[in-house]
């Protein structure tokens, strides 16, 4: 009968998979995140036609910073050093909830895009593409969240 093996201490932030500790992971994630956000901010300022350039840079850089920091962290963290992270997430029930929610959401997207395309074609309706994608993306995420919670409630 197997016994739990002693392992290195775990934390909510974890350690770097390239061998460094928590501090190295945090510093590298911050540096990469700042570089990504600065790049996006500079791109937005360069492409923009209205408003102050530095203001456009600052807003986009600040808004994207959290995601820009989390992205390298997610890629560089050693999962085995994370508190609460299981060894085989693909075998856990949460993976099934995710799959069920993703499957349902994909069907909703197919139906919505189909009906929307027909509606826009028949009515010749013109809308701002950026706003349409923001609204549609938000609805897709909300749809996925609701479906995940429903799958969780059904199995829990």
């Amino acid at each position: 009968m197997s016994q739990p093996t002693a392992s290195a201490p775990k934390s909510n932030i974890g350690r770097a998979r390239f061998g460094g500790g928590t501090a190295a992971l945090v510093i590298v994630s911050l540096v990469i995140g700042l570089a990504i956000s600065s790049g996006l901010g500079a791109l937005y300022a360069w492409l923009g036609e209205t408003g102050e350039g530095w203001m456009r840079f600052a807003i986009v850089a600040i808004v994207t910073l959290p995601v820009s920091i989390m992205l390298p962290w997610a890629l560089l963290v050693d999962r085995s050093s994370l508190e609460g992270a299981v060894d085989r997430p693909e075998d856990s029930v949460e993976a099934r909830w995710y799959s069920k929610a993703a499957e349902g959401t994909m069907h909703d997207v197919l139906i919505t895009v189909g009906i929307g395309a027909a509606l826009f074609s028949f009515t010749q309706l013109q809308v701002d593409t950026g706003m349409l994608l923001i609204v549609f993306g938000t609805l897709v995420m909300a749809d996925f969240g609701v479906r995940y919670q429903l799958a969780k409630r059904a199995d829990a």
């Binding site: 009968m1 997430p89 949460e94 829990a156």
Partner: protein, 63 residues
């Protein structure tokens, strides 16, 4: 699918978290399997059998 997980686990005096750690899955997974609401994958079923020192048929039976 019926299963004998709660009884087997009780025999060892293990908590659901302990069994989940042994299997490398979440505690919620063990809860859902024991309630019969989640059929484990074949690899998990084999690991369960290994952990309890029995066969898969000893642990699971069709409704």
């Amino acid at each position: 699918m019926r299963n004998a997980l709660p009884e087997r686990r009780a025999e060892l005096g293990w908590s659901q978290q302990r069994l989940a750690d042994e299997l490398g899955v979440s505690r919620q997974t063990v809860i859902s399997i024991e309630k019969g609401r989640f059929d484990p994958s074949l690899p998990v079923a084999f690991r369960l059998a290994a952990v309890f020192g029995c066969t898969i048929e000893d642990l699971f039976s069709p409704d």
